[in-house]
């Protein structure tokens, strides 16, 4: 059976190049892929299909939230991702997958951590905007710029 492997090589003009393994071995396990989306989410799953726009079909997807040294997984099922939202896509080395300094925690914990982090960020952002306003400057936020 052919399992396929994709490598994202952003060199020329930010193109996506993917390749097919010559691996016709029938007993090999499928490869997990990690996808980073434009909104910052990280998805890990088995890549089942791809097209020229980098639309992806991910199977048994897990959304991994990283906060500091910890991470938590939320199982999501099947994902169909529109290509324009993909930042990068890479294959996960299954042997090295467990070889990480990061610590896995439960979902509640990681969501809590994320919430705290987001809050802190928003506070600092607010202070910054306030300070800038006092000086008569206004810098538009990057995410609002993105839409135009």
């Amino acid at each position: 059976m052919l399992s396929f492997e994709f490598g994202l090589c952003i060199n020329c003009n930010q193109c996506l190049i993917f390749s097919v393994t010559t691996n016709a071995d029938l007993t090999s396990l499928p490869e997990k892929h990690l996808v980073l989306l434009r909104d910052g989410r990280t998805l890990i799953g088995y890549l089942r299909s791809i097209d020229q726009f980098a639309n992806l079909v991910l199977h048994q997807t897990v959304e991994r939230i990283h906060v500091g040294k910890k991470y938590g997984d939320i199982p999501r099922g099947i994902f169909v991702v529109r290509g324009e939202n993909v930042v990068l896509l890479g294959e996960i080395d299954l042997e090295k997958e467990s070889d990480t300094p990061l610590q896995q925690v439960s979902i509640e914990e990681i969501l809590e951590e994320q919430r705290v982090e987001q809050q802190a960020k928003q506070e600092s952002e607010k202070l910054k905007v306030q300070a800038l306003k006092e000086r008569g400057l206004s810098i538009p936020r990057a995410d609002t710029l993105d839409e135009y």
């Binding site: 052919l2 939320i74 099922g77």
Partner: protein, 720 residues
């Protein structure tokens, strides 16, 4: 029509525009309101149409007939959906048969695979269970999602992580993990059972392995409209049993995004059906089995377009697995062995191979086509430069005999020859004369924009200032383009033929001259009366950086000129640079120039820095110019450089000149005086303090003052 009374007339307006009235009694008109053709039915009280009798009705025999004919065409779809054309009996039976067939291996797998829960059901039998499970697939309220619920126990859903707009995902997109085998059954039904008559119409040339979906794509594609139409008509429990089919249809549609893929889908079921009928046990198409035996080794797809490191990885892995596979094959060579290994592998991953090799190649081809370029240096400047730099570094390392050279491999993209396209205007046949068609290659002027230049009188002072600044900016941009071209000549020189080289050199020289002219402002006269133009450029950050880049290309004379101009206007530039602090970028090119300057120039330079007129008059109590210079990092560093150069010259053979030069002595005394006068706190910190300053000062000041200078300027190493 709800309010229509039995006794009212009902007016029907048909799609083809004809209208007719049905008499009271609630009977329908003769034509009958068919779903496809009826546009509007309006209830109208009898009185309105009193005057209209059948004779007045616009419809007559002929019209009826033609309408009827059209009607027939329209009704074809209807027919297919509801009428005789629809083939709708198969699927239920098909599913039942499927379920029976897959019962055996499914249950076998069930026993072996503990992960499969006891709620794994066969399609045909437990529809309620299926319905329940499938309804859970689409979760309206995110609170129902067990994954989220587990996590967010204390938080209300609004505070979903990250302030991300994840609501779209948390809602209906959250799917429960569908049990593997169940989905297998949904996705891999036997093609034979679904649309037996249809398959005969599509002979296939390939004996290739097929993905499970491919076989059901073609029939599914045609089936789903009718499926959906039927679903709308059905209510209740049959709906749930339809869902697997819907899923299947949907999945089929998912797999055919682009039109290009139709090529693959157009050539469906291979000769696989006959053999697969015999081998019912593996739920996935038997083509797997078929291809298993003859080709355990793979055909080698073209990997030339891959990144070299990538290719190596693939081959390595291929080798590994080939060895593994051989060992496995050797042990169980019979059919049963194959089956079990296949089952095992399928259990491990029944969804692999959803994309065909051809599909992957096709997408890969598209990507590679996008990378073709006639001039990679132009299209992909940064990548090419990056690799060149890396190569230079590794070459340098190699020369030093450092450790093993790190391999840097580069992706080679296909290079196409540049084709010259001559634009030919579109010509229409049969037209009188030439018609102009506006296109990308032949744009037509749409707006009549007239450039009006304003007269000098009208402008206010502010506008003048603004315009002047804009002019400067334009000059900077033009000069920058020239600079980039000049910097590129080296590369072009290497690439060009022998005959072209002189011409290239000429061009380069010319461009350098142009750059210089731009910098200094073209003046017709010999004398360059004002530094104004130059100063304007130097006030802008980009201008300063540009000057730093241009300096290496200028001749000695020109470069000295630039230096002088800078020194002359240094306090002003310093003031303007307060925000940018970019002047420091000029230090390096300046120092390079300095070390080639003759002594006379150096003297003049110092003069400029100190802002003394040619003839030395009575020294002022304080030299403001120099003071400003000393208080600025750049200024002080530049001064040090000049002094250091002077000292070097004095030490060398040509130094006698300098010694004899009165000016130099005067300047030195002035400088030292200023250095002594200025308070230490006000003194800037230079970039670097040349070591020969001490010896320089020792020529002009006595020991006491020398000591003061020493400590003040920290001239002796080690005092820091």
């Amino acid at each position: 029509m709800g309010g229509a009374d039995l006794w009212d007339d009902v007016m029907y307006v048909f799609r083809d525009g004809e209208a007719c009235v049905s008499r009271g009694g609630g009977s329908e008109p003769e034509r009958g309101p068919r779903g496809a053709s009826l546009a509007v039915g309006v209830s109208a009280p009898r009185t309105m149409f009193r005057y209209q009798s059948l004779e007045d009705c616009p419809l007559d025999e002929d019209a009826f007939q033609t309408l009827g004919e059209e009607d027939e065409d329209i009704d074809q779809f209807n027919d297919d959906t509801f009428g005789a054309g629809a083939v709708d009996d198969d699927w239920q039976e098909a599913h039942e048969r499927l379920a029976e067939l897959e019962d055996k291996p499914a249950t076998a797998r069930e026993l072996e695979d503990g992960a499969v829960s006891d709620e794994m059901d066969l399609l045909g039998h437990h529809e309620e269970n299926l319905a329940e499970r499938l309804s859970k697939l689409v979760i309206e309220n995110e609170l129902e999602d067990p994954a989220i619920m587990q996590a967010v126990q204390t938080q209300p859903p609004m505070q979903q992580p990250g302030g991300l707009n994840s609501s779209i995902w948390d809602g209906s997109a959250v799917l429960r993990r569908i049990r593997g085998p169940l989905l297998t059954q949904i996705l891999c039904p036997k093609p034979v059972h679904i649309r037996a008559p249809m398959q005969q119409r599509y002979p296939s040339p390939y004996g290739e392995r097929m993905s499970p979906n491919q076989l059901c794509n073609v029939p599914a594609g045609r089936m789903s409209p009718s499926q959906f139409a039927r679903v709308s008509g059905l209510v209740g429990s049959p709906l749930t049993s339809m869902n697997p089919k819907l899923l299947q249809g949907r999945v089929g549609q998912m797999m055919s995004p682009a039109s290009g893929f139709r090529a693959f889908f157009g050539a469906p079921p291979p000769s696989a059906p006959p053999p697969s009928q015999q081998q019912q046990h593996p739920p996935c198409p038997g083509s797997h089995l078929q291809n298993l035996r003859p080709h355990p080794q793979m055909f080698r797809p073209d990997t030339t377009h891959l990144h070299p490191q990538h290719r190596r990885l693939l081959h390595q892995r291929q080798q590994q697995n080939r060895n593994q596979h051989r060992s496995l094959n050797g042990s169980a060579g019979d059919r049963a062995g194959h089956r079990s290994s296949q089952q095992e592998q399928l259990r491990k991953d029944p969804y692999a191979n959803l994309m065909l090799q051809r599909e992957k190649d096709w997408v890969s081809k598209i990507q590679m086509m996008q990378l073709q370029s006639t001039d990679p240096y132009l299209d992909d400047f940064y990548y090419q430069n990056y690799f060149q730099k890396l190569e230079k570094v590794s070459a340098a390392e190699e020369m030093h005999g450092d450790g093993p050279k790190k391999e840097r491999t580069k992706l080679i993209t296909p290079q196409v020859a540049k084709l010259e396209h001559a634009y030919k205007p579109v010509q229409f046949e049969g037209s009188l004369g030439k018609l102009t068609v506006s296109s990308v290659n032949n744009p037509r002027k749409m707006i009549d924009a007239v450039v009006t230049s304003r007269s000098e009188d009208d402008e206010t002072k502010e506008k003048q200032v603004r315009d002047k600044r804009r002019q400067t900016l334009v000059t900077i941009e033009k000069t920058y383009s020239l600079l980039l071209d000049v910097e590129d000549y080296e590369r072009r020189y290497l690439l060009s033929l022998e005959g072209e080289r002189p011409a290239l050199m000429e061009e380069r020289k010319q461009k350098i001259c142009d750059m210089y002219d731009n910098l200094r402002g073209k003046t017709p006269g010999q004398e360059r009366p004002s530094d104004d133009h130059f100063v304007q450029i130097m006030c802008i950050r980009k201008g300063k950086r540009m000057v730093a880049r241009i300096l290496p290309f200028l001749s000695m004379e020109q470069a000295a000129d630039i230096l002088m101009a800078t020194a002359r206007n240094l306090p002003f530039l310093i003031k303007k640079d307060a925000q940018d602090e970019v002047l420091l970028c000029l230090l390096r090119p300046f120092s390079l120039v300095l070390y080639h300057l003759p002594s006379g120039t150096v003297t003049s330079l110092l003069q400029q820095l100190a802002n003394l007129p040619q003839s030395v008059t009575a020294p002022a109590p304080a030299n403001l110019h120099l003071a400003a210079v000393l208080q600025n990092k750049f200024g002080l560093s530049l001064l040090y450089l000049v002094l250091s150069r002077g000292e070097e010259l004095q030490n060398s053979n040509a130094g006698t000149e300098l010694m004899q030069d009165n000016q130099w002595t005067e300047l030195m005394s002035m400088t030292t005086r200023e250095l002594l006068r200025i308070p230490e706190a006000a003194l800037a910190k230079p970039v670097s303090t040349p070591s020969n300053l001490l010896s320089l000062f020792s020529r002009y000041v006595d020991q006491q003052k020398l000591n003061v200078l020493e400590t003040k300027l920290q001239l002796v190493q080690g005092i820091r």
